[in-house]
């Protein structure tokens, strides 16, 4: 009862307002529709959205866009609705003019739920089909494709006739086909034409659209839809295989990234370094600290935060690595079990130290805008962050090969690992090379941390998840061989991703472990075994 009375008073108030402002008569349903937004109920907001969308008022698109973005505010006491523009400026939604006077004390955003978001998206789609910005038009066409809103048909026909951008035009035609397909009074011939258009599109959304066809469809339409689904799915199966390969490459690059530092410390130097994962974690926390500083001092630089984090993470993890080598590991060369226990204790100490310093909860490491989102290649989705991680990993790999092959440090490092006594008698300071090599391996682990902070938790436990996988890759690829690590990582990644759809994530992982154990029985030295004197040394 109260609500009814409120609404009546509100309507009277609005009528009064209309009279005072001498607003054109056609704004009246618009002003009434706006009032629905002040009720703070999802059902009322739906009524308001539909009312505003069909009012024909030039402000309609602006109001609904504001609603979608959470910028539409209302005052329940004063029965007014505002759009918040940049710099917190309030625009009166009824008039489109800046609000005068102080903001009402009970100003609150109009709330949305998922059902409303869909309705808002559909309404906005119909309203912005002829927006000047082609990106907006494309978005609108896609929204109509999803909403299948029959009311949008005349606007669609008009938009298709006017459209100059080929991509938008295609989207509009597909949207029209979707609408026609779900129209009750369209002829079978039209519907079959529509199915042909949607079949051309050939993606999951097309399957969804065709699969959702009501059971009342005529047999001819139903058959055409079933044929189209079968043909799309045949086509999609090939893309699925490609997609799996891509996922495998991406997982492989993460494995390689985590393992490549270990390929130096364990593979080349022979140190069983259980604290390797914690070096990765240190790299991730360095990224976090860099981002915190940038956020506080100069938010404009945020997109470049990783560029600052990369050298810093390398240095932090590298320095810790050198300290660890000088402080602990150099006393334990040739005693693998003691090294194992010592580095293990160290990993627990590092974890708890970070937990004490930063707290046990996850830290929010932001993703720069150029690493967010995805793009489509055919029917395959490629996410930018994974793509960049693959590029980054390969760069590190090539860089590392170059250091080993072309620099004096690389030469000395190879000399020391191949024959320590001979290298020492040639004047190489072997202990210095040991420290630097361990520092290099740890520094690369730190780099891995920068990349992993983009896809995983940044918490003190970050490193634990990667240590077993890293050892697995290095052992499988062949200890002491960087190429082996590369091939091993990508093999395991791809094998894992092809097993996962059939066996599930848990069994897939077990299967991979069993396969590696069997493989190691056959070839104890891994894929690429070192030959010659170095093996015996």
């Amino acid at each position: 009862m109260g609500a009814v009375r409120d609404r009546l008073t509100a309507i009277v108030a609005v009528l009064g307002l209309v009279a005072v402002l001498l607003t054109p008569a056609r704004a009246e349903p618009y002003a009434q529709a706006l009032l629905h937004f002040t009720a703070d109920s999802f059902d009322e907001t739906i009524a308001g959205t539909n009312g505003v969308a069909t009012s024909g008022n030039p402000l309609a698109a602006r109001v609904i866009a504001a609603l979608q973005e959470g910028r539409l505010f209302f005052s329940a006491q004063e029965k007014t609705v505002f759009i918040r523009e940049e710099r917190d400026q309030l625009i009166d939604a009824a008039t489109g003019q800046p609000a005068t006077g102080p903001a009402p004390p009970d100003l609150a955003p109009v709330r949305l739920n998922n059902r409303l978001r869909r309705i808002v998206e559909a309404a906005l789609g119909s309203l912005t089909l002829m927006a000047p910005d082609p990106a907006k038009r494309l978005e609108a066409a896609q929204a109509v494709f999803k909403s299948k809103d029959a009311a949008a048909l005349p606007a669609l026909d008009q938009a298709i006739a006017q459209e100059t951008d080929a991509r938008v035009k295609q989207a509009l035609i597909e949207a029209r086909a979707a609408v026609v397909l779900y129209l009750d009074n369209a002829s079978d011939a039209d519907k079959i034409d529509a199915i042909a258009v949607i079949r051309q599109r050939g993606d999951q959304d097309a399957v969804a659209l065709l699969g959702g066809l009501p059971a009342t469809a005529s047999p001819a339409v139903a058959k055409a839809a079933a044929d189209a689904i079968a043909s799309i799915q045949n086509n999609l199966a090939i893309w699925t295989a490609l997609q799996n390969t891509w996922y495998g490459l991406s997982l492989g690059s993460v494995l390689l990234l985590a393992a490549i530092g270990l390929a130096i410390t364990f593979g080349v130097m022979g140190v069983i370094n259980m604290a390797h994962g914690e070096m990765v974690m240190l790299g991730a926390y360095t990224t976090f600290v860099v981002q915190e500083i940038i956020r506080a001092r100069n938010p404009a630089l945020f997109d470049y935060s990783l560029a600052f984090a990369i050298p810093l993470a390398f240095m932090v993890a590298g320095l810790v690595g050198i300290l660890v080598e000088r402080g602990i590991i150099r006393f334990l060369y040739g005693r693998p079990l003691e090294t194992l226990l010592a580095t293990w204790g160290l990993s627990l100490i590092l974890q708890q130290a970070v937990r004490t310093a930063f707290g046990p909860t996850n830290k929010d490491v932001g993703t720069p805008s150029w690493m967010s989102g995805s793009f489509d290649v055919g029917q395959m989705t490629i996410t930018y962050n994974r793509l960049w991680i693959i590029v980054f990993t390969l760069l590190i790999f090539v860089g590392l090969l170059a250091i080993l092959r072309f620099t004096r440090f690389g030469l000395e490092m190879r000399a020391v690992t191949q024959n320590r006594a001979m290298a020492a008698s040639m004047g190489i300071k072997t202990s210095r090379i040991d420290a630097l090599t361990f520092g290099l391996g740890s520094g690369i682990a730190g780099l891995a941390g920068v990349a992993l902070s983009q896809i995983d938790n940044v918490s003190p436990n970050l490193g634990q998840g990667y240590i077993i996988d890293s050892f697995m890759v290095v052992v499988f690829g062949g200890v002491g061989n960087l190429w082996g690590t590369l091939v091993g990582a990508f093999t395991l990644g791809i094998a894992n991703k092809f097993l996962e759809p059939y066996a599930g994530a848990v069994l897939g992982k077990i299967a991979i472990l069993v396969l590696i154990i069997l493989f190691i029985q056959k070839r104890p030295r891994g894929l690429f075994a070192l030959r010659g004197r170095a093996v015996e040394a």
């Binding site: 739920n113 059902r115 959304d205 996922y247 997982l251 194992l340 937990r355 938790n457 998840g465």
Partner: protein
């Protein structure tokens, strides 16, 4: 190589040993101030190190705050309360050792603790043998009711079932196809079993349910997210019910955001993602995904605002969030204090008998009651993720929902009830009229 493989197998042992030493040291520190006779000791059994520290440390802090507040009000029965903090280090057997230590050595009157179900199961025999009280504050899979344990978190019918009801409703999007995704351990498996039975009773066909389990800490969600997308494109509205545990959530949500799975297409409702977990994620791409809890920090009630203010003052950090298990401890502690004052003693037997029927305010404006089955009544809220990492309540149950110890939807437990007041039994079979033999 051989060395490495052998060593890897030994790893948990050495870790346990190290952790035990660390825990022992902490335990000793905690035990020393125990001098005066006129205090009542409260045990706090939450991991402060290891994988679960991420969630449990906060609960330790909130208990310290509640105890401090109670002492400012004059304590209980004229005595001050004293917290005894131990660190079970995310190590399940160590939970039992620490519980034994708290009860026998520190002579605590009650223990507040545990997070994972496996840690609770590990301490159960200790609490039964030494007859003490455990308040367990986390949502769990149900199918249990013990005389010595009081479950202040949600049972499945106080979280999972209402969440599914919401998604089936008009406002929730009328979902017809369901993905039940969880981490591979007892809570998701039991919850999903209950949900599957419930969905089938409500007419959902077998091909419309996809169940998926992943290992702890799963980080590569590419395949699963694209499978969900594929499953969701069969022309029926699809929803995901996630019982994915703690650490695996961040990469899961990041992948959802990156692959463009939006809440308007496929909403994800989570049972283990709260304010704390969202603190580690950029939530903008997750707008509209859901969580089901009995408490949200964003709920505006005077008692909740006071709680948040006290918490920020106590922890000296205005950015720290509050969450559902913290509220559970708030309710549980208040109930324990009331029961102790009612019987005028901290003797566990008397307190256990006094607790059922005790009422305490919850933080969302209602009053929760301890039931004879040792679960409590709670409201259920569905919240949507907001851009600031908080939740916006979009739906709630009309009243308080009483917790069911045994699910009505599982064939093995639908005839069982728990009643520690009249029947004195945790698993009474209403068909055979027999107590199933627990305790």
């Amino acid at each position: 190589m051989q060395v490495f493989i052998g060593a890897a197998a030994e790893r948990p042992l050495a870790r346990r040993w190290l952790a035990a030493t660390a825990g022992l040291a902490l335990g000793l520190i905690g035990a020393f101030p125990a001098k005066a006779q006129d205090t009542i000791k409260i045990g706090i059994l939450h991991s402060l190190s290891g994988t679960m520290a991420i969630s449990e440390t906060t609960l330790k802090d909130v208990m310290l705050m509640l105890i401090e507040q109670q002492n400012k009000k004059g304590g209980v029965l004229g005595k001050k309360l004293e917290a005894v903090v131990v660190d079970p280090a995310s190590n399940w057997p160590l939970f039992a050792e620490k519980a034994r230590e708290l009860i026998t050595k520190d002579k605590v009157a009650a223990v507040f603790g545990c997070w994972t179900s496996v840690s609770r199961k590990s301490v159960l025999p200790v609490f039964k043998e030494l007859n003490n009280i455990l308040f367990y504050p986390v949502q769990y899979e149900g199918e249990e009711s013990e005389r010595n344990v009081f479950y202040t978190g949600a049972a499945p019918n106080q979280q999972a079932i209402p969440a599914v009801d919401y998604l089936t409703s008009k406002d929730g999007g009328e979902a017809k196809r369901w993905v039940l995704a969880g981490t591979d351990y007892v809570y998701p498996r039991t919850t999903n079993k209950i949900l599957e039975a419930y969905l089938k009773q409500n007419g959902v066909a077998d091909p419309d349910i996809m169940i998926n389990y992943t290992p702890f800490g799963h980080a590569d969600w590419q395949t699963i997210v694209s499978d969900i997308k594929k499953f969701g494109s069969a022309g029926k509205k699809t929803a995901v019910v996630s019982t994915i545990n703690g650490d695996a959530n961040v990469p899961f949500y990041k992948e959802l955001g990156n692959q463009g799975v939006r809440a308007t297409d496929i909403p994800v409702v989570a049972f283990s993602v709260g304010e704390e977990e969202l603190a580690g994620i950029d939530t903008k791409p997750l707008l509209g995904h859901l969580a089901a809890w009995n408490y949200f920090e964003s709920i505006k009630t005077p008692i909740n605002e006071q709680f948040i203010k006290d918490w920020h003052e106590f922890i000296k950090n205005p950015k720290r969030v509050t969450n559902d298990p913290m509220e559970a401890h708030f309710i549980g502690f208040a109930m324990w204090v009331k029961a102790v004052e009612k019987v005028g003693s901290t003797d566990p037997d008397k307190v256990i008998d006094a607790l059922p029927g005790v009422q305490a305010p919850n933080l969302t404006g209602g009053t929760s009651t301890m039931l004879p089955n040792h679960h409590i009544t709670k409201p259920v809220f569905i919240g949507e993720v907001r851009a600031d990492g908080q939740f916006d309540v979009v739906w709630k149950t009309p009243g308080l929902v009483p917790g069911d110890a045994w699910s009505k939807y599982l064939p093995g437990s639908k005839d069982l009830i728990a009643d520690w007041v009249t029947l004195k039994c945790g698993n009474y079979n209403t068909v055979t009229k027999k107590c199933g033999g627990a305790s």
